[in-house]
Point group: C2
Chain length 347, copies 2
DNA sequence: TGGAAACACGAAAACGATTAAGCGATATGC
DNA sequence: GCATATCGCTTAATCGTTTTCGTGTTTCCA
């Protein structure tokens, strides 16, 4: 690899001058600058990142935390799309993206934070991980700029998909379609679940809907078996719902199957809606009505906030950026003409 | 950050000694080694990767090329799963994974290869990219260890999903179920498509199947609209097929919808099969029979080969590793009892 | 014309690690 | 008893940059 020393030899100047020429410094003559740059070009020079890093403490490399216990977030539509957007955002600005390796024990770095410091990441995006582990807490409390996705820490920048608004918009849409008996199979307990659930209740109240307890069920995210069973139970109720909400699009397929097995049709006999807006949901028949989270914007916001934090630490404020989602209107939710009973008799 | 100098000061030895102690070198006393290591531990030392890199020319960082024009491979099930497996494989061995940024112009590195050299990647996995671009050619011809996925270059290690065996196994399975009129909507022209298509023809011949030209159709990968249309055309044939193969699982949904729209049932009236084995295919009803590519093994092989190439360059041979896939037996392919006509009249 | 300011460049010290060479002191072989 | 091997540590050079400071030359204005 050709170094500055090589260029300096050819040009008959010192390495310092070469460095200045290449970095567009002020105290250098126009002539020499032009000559050095040309020679550098011809010799196929490009900087040694390690040396630059060592000297400047800047890596132009940002870390991304993407380690879930059960499954890596990579194989999860929502996270994959956010990551994709994040990747494009930071790469556009000349940064690289590196996965933070949590199984890293080779370096002698004991913790996640230490690993990040060792690698010299300029910033870290905490996308998909166990937010309650002490390692993560240490990381966000550390000296490296951090932005989290869908989780709030004190004094840490966060980008949040607006689950409150999302659920409200979804339920309102469904209500507008004439549904009053709406069940919600929510995901396993988490901050996200809590937001959606409370928004569901509040919105229902605002709309004047009465939701019997039997309509609220739980099934883990992305578990089609779970939603299959819960859907069956809902269908066996004395007064089954006219519409069922699922934890996410993937798990909605569990409900899909259960409904089909019972010989019912979607949306003619019963309506369903998912949450996320994964691609496949728009390519099945009936297309799944769902709340589409704006993964493009979410990833972009994480990236931009992080870069801002890195490049303008003084003027960048610590804030929570909330990104709205929007109903994707498929045809899995029927328009009810006659209106259906209000289920006061349930209570 | 605490450096070796700090440790050396505390221990009253030279930095060289510290380095040796920490790196388990031979010419050092057991006593001192133990003491130094303890102090390092207590002070929370971890190495500065940049400095180490600069000196040793090893980064313990491997690059992954993941840039497709239309869509980043991240949002593509097959590639995402391979990447996930690759990630775990290399991270286990203490390596980090960094995306190769092809939009990188900040460093002055003009090409992909230069960028990789600049970053000091120990190796590069070329997973999802335009294999015909000159940049990629330059990269694989360069001095950095490279492993490609599903593409063959001269003298470059490659890991290939076995499309020939895969298609053979799939078609053989379908034939065994009693199908003789099998149509194949293949993907847009590529090396992968060629392998599958020729294997389809050869296997059909071996099985004594006659495939009329109208049964062979083309539709881009992952394009449900395309497969929808082609399926419609197939269904309108004088003698429609009893089973249709699709370019991939995702696009199979296009066929799914078309068939449903025509009022036909799967698999009672017509059978279908996909290719890939994406997760959702196992969670719909009917579950999709498909050729499941072994993404776990593929990613693992890419990683292991790359690490081997990096750590034992002399003894690692340049080879092509072929990974078989296997039929996932869903229930989208019916068992035909009576046997159906051989479609000789088509020719 | 003389002094100050502006300009262009070089020398050298860092950044934090690795490693070859050297050097005393002790142990070993003949 | 003398040469030699072994051990344990230090010295110093080095990787490729950046950056501070110093210095010689030119320019400008009083």
């Amino acid at each position: 690899m050709v170094s500055m020393k090589d260029i300096s030899a050819v040009c008959g100047v010192s390495v310092a001058t070469v460095s200045k020429a290449l970095n567009d410094q002020s105290d250098i003559g126009q002539e020499t600058k032009k000559r050095i740059r040309q020679v550098a070009e011809e010799m196929g020079y490009f900087p040694n990142t390690a040396a630059k890093m060592l000297k400047t403490n800047r890596s132009y490399n940002i870390g991304v935390l993407f380690n879930h216990e059960d499954y890596s977030g990579l194989t999860h539509d929502y996270y994959a799309f956010v990551l994709d957007s994040l990747k494009r955002t930071v790469e556009d600005k000349g940064y690289d993206l590196t996965f933070v390796n949590t199984s890293m024990r080779r370096t002698g770095a004991a913790s996640c934070l230490e690993h990040c410091k060792s690698r010299g990441f300029d910033g870290v995006a905490v996308i998909c991980t166990d937010f309650y582990s002490p390692e993560i807490l240490q990381l966000v409390r550390g000296s490296i700029p951090v932005v989290t996705l869908d989780h709030l820490f004190n004094n840490v920048c966060a980008v949040m998909s607006n689950n409150v608004q999302g659920m409200k918009e979804l339920l309102t849409y469904i209500h507008k379609k004439g549904h009053c008996r709406v069940a919600y199979i929510h995901g396993a307990d988490s901050a996200v679940t809590q937001s959606r659930l409370s928004s569901f209740y509040r919105t229902a109240a605002q709309l004047g809907l009465t939701i019997p307890d039997e309509y609220i069920r739980m099934s883990p995210y992305r578990d089609t078996n779970g939603t299959y069973k819960e859907t069956m139970k809902l269908l066996e109720l004395r007064k089954p719902p006219t519409c069922i909400l699922y934890p996410d699009d993937f798990s909605a397929f569990g409900g899909f199957n259960a409904i089909k097995e019972r010989g019912l049709r979607i949306p003619d006999d019963i309506s369903i809606a998912g949450y996320d807006g994964i691609r496949i949901a728009r390519h099945i028949e009936p297309t799944l009505t769902t709340l589409r989270q704006d993964t493009e914007e979410l990833g972009k916001m994480v990236g931009e906030k992080l870069l801002s934090l890195i490049e303008h630490p003084k003027t960048t404020l610590v804030e929570t950026i909330v990104v709205d989602g929007h109903v994707f209107e498929g045809n899995s939710v029927a328009e009810l003409k006659g209106g259906n009973d209000v289920v006061t008799d349930f209570i």
